[in-house]
């Protein structure tokens, strides 16, 4: 997956969707994950990076990452490689 090209992301965790006008806030670890997604990291690479850096086990983070990416989908902020950009 990747973040849609038209979504603006600031370093401080502010996201803006110019099509819908919606704004979002993301916490620091979420911002870090967004950056990794934009850099082309796959899920297992993100899990490895976060688990190496933070006090979290793989199962817990895997579950939280699924939840986070699910919310990106829910808010129509992400797209998957096999789908055209909306």
């Amino acid at each position: 997956m990747r973040i849609k090209k038209n979504i603006a992301i600031s370093e401080s965790g502010f996201m803006f969707n110019p099509i819908t006008g919606e704004s979002f806030t993301v916490n620091p670890i979420g911002t870090e994950i967004l950056q990794m997604i934009n850099d082309g990291f796959e899920s297992d690479q993100i899990i490895e990076a976060i688990c190496n850096k933070y006090q979290v086990d793989q199962h817990t983070f895997d579950k939280d990452l699924t939840d986070f990416t699910g919310m990106l989908d829910h808010h129509h902020l992400s797209q998957h490689h096999d789908k055209e950009e909306a």
Partner: protein
């Protein structure tokens, strides 16, 4: 290199609707300890979930209430409402402070006796007093508050049979200007039932009429209603004095005072809006002092307030079981505290705080209990910091009714711990075990065996 503290990633849509003029979250600090004892330590030692009661708060609430009334009225007596919390250690704190006992069943009566309360200092209320219960109350010279005529006639018969004169009061219900009017208990003032009952008692000569009682409602946000009630009871007392030259020794205003909890649907938090002890005391004592009692015959004022004394002293500690999303994307956090333990979650939006440090990020969360029932909702919507599995939470102001109305349902009931005034925790009710349930059961012989 040491790893950094983890917080799960979240994304939150910013609402561009009208802002809440009272701000967002107000609790920015975790509750890491209760009366100096760490929440984590309590859970490690006594398990989760766990009810915790602060003896210090029990005593300070009682003293605050007592001061509010005794500074305004010369004769005041409190009676601890057993149904609000009848764990003996809790009752005994109030008895040590000088409270009598107010009970509403034979079981509660026996509990009060067992705690060492003299029978003459037990007030027996309620609509369901069996003949055995009444005989027990008569034998102990207790104050029997008559709820209906059937009880009055039974008492008259018992007085004859035992050749004694039981001490009685009648419970009076009335219109105090609030809705709903509690008219299912006692005798009505406006339609004359109360006056009829008083006449029956006085003319029978078999019962000693010592008091008048009312209990106008629960979680009463209006203090004026108490002023109206006190005025009406004073009228009845003065009527009895005039007609029979008989002095009513006490007026019992019952309970119903609010705690600082926030009722569901309330716009402002209860801590900011609910009346204080001083507010109630001012309304009640002013009405009594302004009535036509002479100083010599001023009745004792009895108060049976329960919730307002015990609610803030109680906490329930719990643990996060899991985090989920609803179909609409809303955060759901499941904790090990269910509505079977927290009956009051049907009435209040209880304050919930994490028991560990957290950041400023929060999510609108539905807090569910562990029961396999859809109604098991502790908070429908509460802004909570990001909780992880295994984190602990503290639910505040749960001292009233939860430890008497809790249900053994699906799970067993947890331990209750009291932290004494020196900060030492004591178990005051053991955690239940399988035998608590199975010990009461009997299996007929033909159901003892089966093959699958």
């Amino acid at each position: 290199m040491e790893k950094l503290r983890y917080e799960r990633p979240i994304i939150r849509r910013l609402d561009s609707e009208m802002p809440n003029k009272f701000g967002m979250r107000t609790d920015y600090r975790p509750t890491t300890q209760i009366e100096g004892v760490a929440v984590k330590t309590l859970i490690e030692e006594f398990g989760s979930p766990l009810f915790v009661i602060s003896e210090k708060v029990l005593r300070s609430q009682y003293r605050k209430a007592r001061k509010a009334f005794t500074t305004r009225y010369p004769k005041v007596q409190f009676a601890w409402s057993y149904k609000t919390n009848y764990i003996s250690a809790v009752c005994n704190v109030f008895h040590q402070e000088g409270s009598w006992a107010e009970v509403v069943s034979g079981f509660e009566f026996q509990k009060a006796l067992g705690n060492g309360v003299e029978g003459s200092k037990i007030i027996f209320n309620g609509p369901d007093k069996s003949e055995e219960d009444l005989e027990m109350a008569i034998k102990h010279n207790s104050l029997i508050h008559i709820d209906h005529l059937d009880e009055l006639y039974t008492l008259t018969e018992l007085a004859d049979r035992h050749k004694t004169k039981p001490r009685v009061a009648i419970r009076v219900n009335m219109d105090t200007g609030v809705y709903p009017m509690w008219d299912r208990f006692g005798f009505n003032y406006e339609n004359g039932q109360a006056w009829d009952a008083l006449n029956k008692i006085m003319h029978s000569g078999k019962l000693e009429l010592v008091g008048l009682h009312c209990h106008i409602g629960t979680f009463m946000l209006s203090t004026q209603a108490y002023a109206v009630a006190a005025g009406k009871l004073a009228e009845l007392a003065i009527g009895v004095q005039r007609k029979f030259n008989h002095t009513i020794k006490y007026i019992d205003m019952g309970g119903g005072f609010t705690s600082k909890n926030t009722l569901k649907g309330a716009y402002l938090p209860g801590s900011d809006t609910n009346p204080s002890f001083d507010d109630y005391a001012e309304a009640i004592t002013t009405a009594l002092l302004n009535a036509d009692f002479t100083a010599e015959y001023l009745p004792t004022l009895i108060l049976e307030t329960g919730r307002a004394l015990v609610d803030e002293a109680g906490y329930v500690l719990g643990t996060v079981i899991s985090n989920k999303r609803s179909s609409k994307g809303k955060r759901i956090t499941i904790v090990d505290i269910g509505v079977n333990l927290m009956f009051t979650s049907f009435w209040y939006d209880h304050k919930v705080t994490p028991a560990q440090e957290f950041t400023q990020y929060a999510e609108d969360t539905t807090l569910n209990g562990p029961l396999c029932m859809n109604i098991d909702v502790i908070r429908e919507s509460v802004s909570l910091p990001l909780l992880n599995k295994g984190d602990n939470i503290v639910v505040h102001s749960v001292g009233a009714y939860n430890m008497t109305q809790w249900m053994q349902f699906i799970t067993l009931r947890p331990a209750v711990v009291m932290i004494d005034v020196d900060g030492k925790p004591h178990i005051i009710r053991e955690k239940e075990n399988l035998n608590t349930v199975n010990g009461q059961e009997r299996i007929p012989i033909h159901l003892n065996r089966f093959e699958l």
